[in-house]
Amino acid sequence: MTSAPSTNNKHIYLDYNATTPLDPRVLDAMMPYLRENFGNAASRSHSFGWAAEEAVKIARQQVADLLGASDKEIIFTSGATESDNLAIKGAVEMLAKKGKHIITCVTEHKAVLDSCKYLETNGLADVTWLEVGKNGLVTPEQVAEAIRDDTVLITIMMANNEIGSIHPIKEIGAIAHEKGIWFHTDATQGIAKLPFDVNDLNVDMASMSAHKIYGPKGVGALYVRRRKPRVRLSPQMHGGGHERGMRSGTLNVPGIVGLGAACKIAKDDFDKDQAHYKALRDRLEQKIRGALDHVELNGDDEQRLVTTFNISFAYVEGESLIMGIPEIAVSSGSACTSASLEPSYVLRALGVGDDLAHSSIRFSVGRFTTEAEVDAAADTVIKTVRKLRDMSPLYEMAQEGIDLSSVNWDAH
């Protein structure tokens, strides 16, 4: 295994779906472009510019190779949020004369949800928000039924960040293509964790981010199909006409080099990474589920990212659990850990009750996770859940056989 990035942090990082550390190999690739090779990739008149241009060209090919795309179909952006905004707003604006109906689903990332809401609020689009099943998935049939004569865009994420559920995007893409509708997928969580090929998956646009795949923050890409169909987007960032006019702004050369290097490593190490992720995720999952009763997996057991394990510990509140495991970095669907004071909208959409949403923890493993870390994390979590259950009135009532849903709670 590649050695982990050095860190003075003794904590165990199990939040790889939130962000990943920079792979040391990525940093090595980037360094020259942070130092001597500082040129502007658009400077055509000197060697500084040529070196930058060449580096961007290589990176563009590396990204394209990971996606099964052509290098001419890669638009560099500041990250997946920008890619989602450009894909959705850019497509709807471009196709305004053709129609204004979008199909998406309620568990998308906020970058997709809020882009669609913006268009809806301003009268620029009608949006169908597909509900998801208990496993967090939409079906191709739901998408087919939602299609109208004026549908111009379908946007469904590849895999969900919170629960890891993997949508049937190949089938959804086939339906879109049959009807001549553009299909965008926010592939931020899917790329490098799942086999990905734009032609195999019938994808017309795909958003991705470098920092989810061991690259730097602040850089990402949008795949934009050039043939069958030829997708053109109305730019959301105006200026010097970079990136085929779809995204102006001086290229972030070191970031792009880092994204390219991260993509190359993801492609080269795909099988090795997969085996590593799955072994560790399963080990963590088996330890925790084997030791504790009343735990509920959130999302789909099978159609799920190999990195991700989202679980609710009934009768234990999420923030208190996180407080009891300060050396383990995970995230929770509990309201108390978010600014909004609402439990996770994704878990709510699955029909997970607010009580279990409050008790949910997402574990996500990654390239630098070790077996020892997983074992230590599992032990600490199990110990803490037991301690909190010993002081939980709900656990006590459940042990006494009281049906908690029949209790007349004094909601406040």
């Binding site: 509140e317 407080m323 409050h358 009135p393 656990y395 004094d410």
Partner: protein
């Protein structure tokens, strides 16, 4: 979120976790909150024949501040008379634990739990006056 040292101390070493016999005549039980709101507190008091709270226990489902608030509440009610315990205000808990504004509801819940336990105890002593026990 940064917790105050006192919240951390109560979370790590909660005082008086447990349960008393809720059927006993000298025990008052208060259960407040709701699971879907993310916090439920159960606070119980045991009152001696001369009206002094001689024991208190709690169990709480909730965040660290909720656990700390209820743990502190059990410490404070012990040794007080029923009337004195009614004087405990949520603002005292906020001050003692340095709770931030977003966690004030935890202290309110703890005060509610004390009151609910005291009310339950009183209604057990005077079953006929249940309706106007406050």
């Amino acid at each position: 979120m940064a917790y105050s040292d006192k919240v951390l101390d109560h979370y790590e070493n909660p005082r008086n976790v447990g349960s008393l016999d809720k059927a006993a005549k000298d025990v008052g039980t208060g259960v407040v909150g709701a699971p879907e709101c993310g916090d439920v507190m159960k606070l119980q008091i045991k009152v001696s024949s001369d009206g002094v709270i001689e024991d208190a226990k709690f169990k709480t489902f909730g965040c660290g501040s909720a656990i700390a608030s209820s743990s502190l509440a059990t410490e404070w009610v012990k040794g007080k008379t029923v009337d004195e315990a009614l004087g405990i205000k949520n603002t005292d808990i906020v001050e003692e634990l340095s709770l931030p504004p977003v966690k004030i509801h935890c202290s309110v819940l703890a005060e509610d739990a004390i009151r609910a336990a005291l009310t339950d105890y009183r209604s057990k002593q005077n079953p006929d006056e249940k309706a106007d026990s406050e």
